[in-house]
Amino acid sequence: MGARSHADGSARVNSVATPFVESMQAAAVSGLPGSGIAWLDDTRRDALRAFATHGLPDTRNELWKYTALRALQQRAYAPRDAGAASRPVADDLLRLDGCEGPRAVFVNGAFRADLSRLDDLPGGIVLQPLSEVLRHQPEPLRFLLAARAGDEDGLTLLNRALAADGVIVRVADGVRAFNPLHVVHVGTSAGSAVAWHLRDLMELGEGASLAVIEHHVGDDTSGHFANLARTITLHARARLDWTIVQRASRDATLLRRTDCVLHEDTELDFHALELGGKLARHELRVDLAGDRARFASRGAFVLGGRQHSDTEVLVTHRARDTVSDSLWRGVAGDRARGVVHGRILVQPGADGSDGCFYNKNLLLSPTAEIDTRPALEIYADEVKANHGATVGQLDDNVLFYLRSRGIPLDTARRMLVRAFCAVTLDGIQPAGLREFCETLLAEQLPEAEA
């Protein structure tokens, strides 16, 4: 374990055309925004062909070891929601405490200008939906959209082929945004199960600073498939506070991959609260490419039913005196399954790096399962690196203590789950959002019994 494996698992040819692959192939590239532009059509077709060969990642791939997509393979999805532009969305769903500033809303994978609030963006911050960029001036994004990364897997290929929308955010050098930017992804019933593919780019110029709050919500019962690919670049001395609150509908499949590059003296402060989805995965790759770049992550997932959550935090220390510091908490009840993989790779030359990854987990039922794998690989000198992972249960002695004071069992469990995860929420800003997250956490308590 811990061997440097490629994320693609690509050598094999997937000869079996599964219902999933077939439904994706049926998605006409010609109907996508930007179609007719030769280089875009080429890269999309090329990627779709490659996807048909690769298929979805399978469990022989080290990064997918505990997340099997067998059930997904058997599902077919409509290529897009034709009615996404006009579906009504309750305002309650969009609102998030502490996020009264600019807002970009996507409904079933399509940008909705009517629900967004982007008029009062401060100067120096440009936010464009990818769909508009594709229609009007895609050339500047060619580097991103036509890029063939060395480690593309089936999902990134699929994303390159079919991405139709997403958030493109650029912050100019030295611009410091005060209000957090609120990005909402809504899944709402489209009659049948639909797929969408989003491609995001966040680029912060030198000395820029931005806070982004990403909110996934859903009232969808048809079970959508969302595939997000994201690139985040922080130029020297930039700072990004990024918080994800994931409350996708219980039938949704949400697969995300984020590639971050942090140049010198940058800071990425990441928080995640993962509560929703039937299958939710986030592969977060952080490349500490510049000296003294810092990455901190705090996250928690709380699962019930048959939910499956997979968190991959893959940090590469490439430059000197870089710092990574991750702290995750996982809670699973009923028949839920959690997967946590924290890998710290310290490359030759990244001397003086300091990396740690800690993960504690709580099982609330004998049929729940959490697999956690911290891994360190160090090829540099004077490195400080630590990792640790545990899986345990609620302490009966503590539960009895609370109950002996009059607190009912169910409330006692909620209190302890909330307390267990609290350390990951402490740093969330603004305070209104933190309190909201605490409430969500307390409400999320999964069934303890099998």
Binding site: R403, R405, G406, I407, T411, M415, A419
Partner: protein, 254 residues
């Protein structure tokens, strides 16, 4: 108020209590003394409802209700309080928050209105003053990083806020130096009232110099073998538990 009749209790198949009977009325302070392994803590835990104890015979009633059939939280709402021998640390759960949740859960279960945060804070401030509790401890996580003395004082403080009708003190004196012992005893004495009964479980007579009991029971080998008044505690101190064992065991009733 509390009536225990011929109580037999097993833990992991081993019989710990072998026919214990005891009755406590409101306003009475009963001391339960005995050597290690006599079953003292088992008695407190069975009354409060800790799991892992198998009652094979006998009964425990509280105001005539079958206590053994009730969940621990229902016993608390009925007025039973156990001050733990080893109070647990609960990282991440704020002391004040915990106590308010406990008090309001009990009030709700009894059909009383819950206290809002202003009312609760007022109550807590009063109790803090009365009990000589260090106010900073309220803003910390429950018992986390507390010294042994602070933990025991916190137990008595919780008792003062929750105002139980039957308070069981399980070796509240253990691990305390003499100053801490006096403080804890003062706190308990302040809570003595004609409506409230106490079971004071202790290994040593020392605590009973400060909390003077109305009755003293000697628990040995799972039964009460001797009962008397406060003087019995001093005799035990002078002669040791072997002295009781050598005498003819008598079934004791308070």
């Amino acid at each position: 108020m509390l009536k225990i009749e011929n109580l037999h209790v097993r833990i992991a198949g081993r019989e710990i209590l072998k026919g214990l009977s005891l009755e406590a009325k409101p306003g009475e302070v009963h001391a339960i003394m005995g050597p290690n392994g006599a079953g003292k803590s088992t008695l407190g835990n069975v009354i409060a409802g800790r799991s892992g104890y198998e009652v094979t015979k006998g009964s425990v009633t509280f105001d005539g209700d079958d206590l053994l059939a009730m969940e621990p939280e229902a016993r608390a709402a009925a007025g039973v309080f156990l001050a733990f021998q080893y109070p647990v640390e609960i990282p991440g759960v704020n002391n004040t928050y915990f106590l308010r949740a406990a008090l309001n859960a009990q009030r709700k279960a009894r059909g009383d209105t819950e206290l809002d945060s202003m009312q609760f804070l007022k109550l807590v401030r009063e109790r803090v003053k009365e009990m000589g509790m260090t106010p900073e401890l309220l803003n910390r996580a429950v018992n986390e990083g507390f010294s042994g003395g602070e933990k025991k004082r916190n137990e008595v403080f919780q008792m003062a806020v929750l105002e139980p009708r039957l308070a069981i003190l399980d070796e509240t004196d253990s691990g305390l130096d003499i100053d801490a012992l006096k403080q804890v005893a003062e706190g308990v004495n302040r809570l003595r009232s004609p409506e409230r009964g106490f079971l004071v479980i202790t290994h040593y007579q020392r605590l009973l110099d400060y909390i003077v009991p109305d009755f003293v029971h000697v628990l040995a080998d799972g039964r009460i073998v001797e009962s008397g008044d406060a003087k019995l505690a001093r005799e035990l101190e002078a002669h040791g538990y072997a002295w009781v064992r050598d005498r003819t065991p008598t079934e004791a009733h308070a």
